[in-house]
């Protein structure tokens, strides 16, 4: 009986240790990101969605604390995942009331990271859960998976380079879910023979889309008017 | 002299209908060849074959000594034709129409030359007016101007007086005579109206149901010495008996319910009239029937017997 009790207590202690609070780590990461009050970044955006054929386009990305974010194409039409691309690390980190729990470790692009679950305390928050993959040594978030109320789940993967001291990535890849797209051929006046139907695996693959932004230059903390973010 | 036009065994069939049946004739240069026949006799079909509009089923057409089948373009350069009513472009003016067809005929006449042509047919003042506003006679004149614009050697006129008033008919007649006598052109003119043909034709062909019925010199076919006269009296049988005992006996042909038929020289008619008065024959009417008209009606009606030829 005593032995069983001791065993249970040990298990509970292990669990308790494992579900430890990651708030300090998250706050360190946030402090790094909060060096940046605003930035204007120039880059290229590639849209990789199965039913979209779009060339790479030049974009300008604007950010202003706490959560103003805009991607603008220099003329032309841009295609962005609905509601998703406005999510960026700075916005994710903007909330102060959250619970940060450790969820172990994982390897992202060959780099060992600490997995942290961020649960916003605000019940009305658009974001329900964010899972961060943090490289502890550099305090950089290499990957973030965010679940939202209205717009499904998004995944962001970051690669860093010249601006890592500010926590600003050189490359961001947004992955998101898409719906099937189909228009009747009678409307589009296409008379070619039907292509062979997709397998289930292909259909599942086609329901995922990606937007990849490669940043070539950041202009940081030079001041930015709010008018820039108006549509 | 070699004929200008030589037609040999010309035939045209439209399905089961034989519109022209082994027709042969020749047209001499500087003549007016009259083509006479009722409506539907095959005149227009023959003329359309002469101008290359219709392909013959069989037979040969030679014009200017050349086969039409092999030398159509050269032949048509020397032909000017007005086929039925001359339809031109209603939305163009008379001048523009004439210029257009002149260019198609291979010539580029000057403005003065074209206006001259229009003046010859009495259309100079209406040169710039759209043809849509022209009368039938004016269109006919324009058609003739178009046919003559390139100075052809052979002029073919198919029913040229259709729809014309008496003045218009007279103008056409004078034109045809002028073309032959002054300009030494050869003219083929077709009609169903005897009165038009007889005044202009030097040669004649009567066609009926696609077949040649008679061809010959005009003077042979409507010799005034063979004028048929029909007398109508109160008592034809009594008059017949009286005439048989008179100097007019050799001229008597027959007695019909309508009257007495004689064949006299046209110039003898006044004397005949006088005799009838002297013989106290009560005359109701004396009708000289034109020999050609009679001839035409006889040869184009069923049961024809050639009683008028020698």
């Amino acid at each position: 009986m005593k032995k069983i009790s001791l065993l249970c207590l040990s298990c509970m202690l292990v669990v308790a240790i494992q579900a430890q609070d990651m708030t300090p780590l998250v706050q360190k990461v946030r402090a790094k990101i909060e060096q940046v009050k605003d930035y204007v970044a120039v880059g290229t955006m590639k849209t990789d969605v199965s039913f979209i054929k779009a060339p790479i386009g030049k974009v300008k990305v604007y950010f202003k604390k706490p959560d103003l974010f805009s991607i603008k194409k220099e003329g032309g039409i841009s295609l962005l995942p609905k509601g998703g691309v406005s999510i960026n690390m700075s916005s994710l980190m903007a909330t102060t009331s959250f619970v940060a729990l450790s969820a172990g470790e994982a390897v992202v692009d060959g780099i060992k990271t600490r997995v942290v679950k961020l649960l916003p305390m605000n019940e009305n928050s658009e974001v329900i859960l964010t899972t961060l993959y943090i490289q502890e040594a550099t305090l950089l978030v290499l990957k973030a998976v965010t679940s939202t109320r209205e717009n499904g789940t998004y995944e962001m993967t970051m690669q860093y380079g010249a601006y890592q001291q500010y926590g600003l990535p050189d490359k961001v890849i947004f992955s998101f879910n898409t719906k099937d797209y189909k228009l009747p051929k009678g409307i589009t006046l296409e008379f070619e023979e039907e292509t062979k139907p997709l397998t289930e695996a292909e259909k599942i693959k086609n329901r995922k889309g990606r937007v990849e932004i490669n940043y070539s230059n950041y202009t940081i903390n030079q001041g930015l008017a709010d008018a820039v973010f108006k549509k | 002299m070699q004929p200008l036009v030589k037609i040999t065994a010309l035939t045209k069939q439209f399905g089961h209908l034989t519109a022209v049946d082994h027709l042969s004739f020749s047209v001499e240069p500087a003549s007016v060849y009259g083509f006479l026949g009722q409506n539907g006799a095959g005149k227009s079909t023959t003329i359309r074959m002469l101008t290359g509009l219709i392909m013959p089923t069989s037979g040969e057409i030679e014009i200017f000594g050349l086969s039409l089948a092999k030398h159509k373009k050269e032949i048509l350069q020397q032909i000017g034709a007005v086929i039925e009513k001359p339809d031109v472009y209603q939305y163009l003016s008379a001048y523009d129409n004439l210029q257009l067809f002149a260019r198609l005929s291979g010539i580029r006449p000057t403005r003065i030359s074209l206006m001259d042509q229009l003046a010859q047919v009495g259309l100079a003042e209406r040169a710039k007016d759209k043809v849509a506003g022209f009368s039938q006679g004016m269109k006919q004149r324009l058609g003739i101007a178009i046919a003559l614009v390139h100075q052809p050697q052979l002029i073919i006129l198919d029913e040229p007086t259709n729809g014309l008033d008496p003045q218009g008919i007279a103008d056409i007649r004078h034109l045809i005579i002028h073309l032959r006598t002054e300009m030494k052109k050869t003219v083929i003119v077709s009609s169903h109206l005897l009165s038009e043909i007889e005044q202009v034709a030097t040669q004649l062909l009567i066609i009926h149901k696609g077949k040649k019925v008679k061809e010959g010199n005009a003077s042979e076919l409507f010799d005034p010495a063979k004028t048929v006269v029909q007398l109508s009296t109160e008592r034809n049988d009594t008059a017949w008996a009286v005439l048989q005992n008179s100097v007019w006996q050799p001229y008597l042909e027959r007695i019909t319910p309508e009257g007495i038929i004689l064949k006299v020289d046209r110039r003898q008619i006044p004397a005949l009239h006088q005799s009838l008065v002297q013989l106290q024959i009560p005359l109701i009417s004396l009708q000289p029937r034109h020999s050609l008209e009679d001839y035409f009606l006889q040869v184009t009606t069923p049961g024809y017997v050639d009683t008028l030829s020698n």
Partner: protein
Amino acid sequence: MWTLFQIEVYKIFRRPRTYIAFAAITGLIGIIQFGLKLDGEQYVEFMMRDITSSITIEGNILNGYQVCYIVLQVLLVHVPLLIALVAADMISGEANMGTLRLLLTKPISRDAFLVAKFMATMVYTLLLLIWLAILALFLNMLIFGTDDLFLLKSSYVVLLRENDIFWRYCGAFAFAALAMSTVAALGFLLSLFANNSIGPIVATMSIIVFLTILSTLNIPLFSYVKPYLFTTHMIGWKEFFDIKVNASNEALSGTIQHPMRIIQSALVLLAHIVLFLVVSIWVFRKKDILS
């Protein structure tokens, strides 16, 4: 031949009926432009409703290039009737007017006459397409400006960059001219068989409607004949607005997804034009002119 050709072109453009087609196109495009200028945003929303459930589209979608595409989609279904108005009248109209017999008593060969008329018909078709291009493309570029072109296909969408569009429209209009020339050649052939242009015009449109139905219906039986129908290939101009992607699904500017389809369609249309012309010459050589 040159003289004949000049005369035929002259006759076409002196005739009031010719300008009906130009006026109709002007009116139609004007109405579309007016409507889109007023209510274009709603139209675009309606068009994009399927895709905006997962994608946000930003930018000036309703620009001159987009409007031109909309115009072409609508008009190139109806322009064949306007082409037939003149093409199907070329011989039958002359017969009806009575001028055919006058023309053919002139020293011109029937072949030369027919080919000249055919070439004049092609000139008319080409000029009509040029007019369409001026109004649908250049005028819309002025009114609505230019930007990228966003196109909805049946199973995917295409985004073409602004600097990658104009040459595509040049190709599309050239192809459309070929397609309309096929319609003109058909109308021209049919006009040989009547003395009145109503019959050939109706017959031309009936054939196009009938063959278009065969081209669009997905019935397996029809799939054998579809590749040979010119109506199947008349919409080949749309292939200019599809683009290749590389292995990472990046669209490659300056490319066409299926260039061979364009070439094949063009060859089929050209073959039809040649066939219609050859048959026309053969028929006309034997034709008795009774009008």
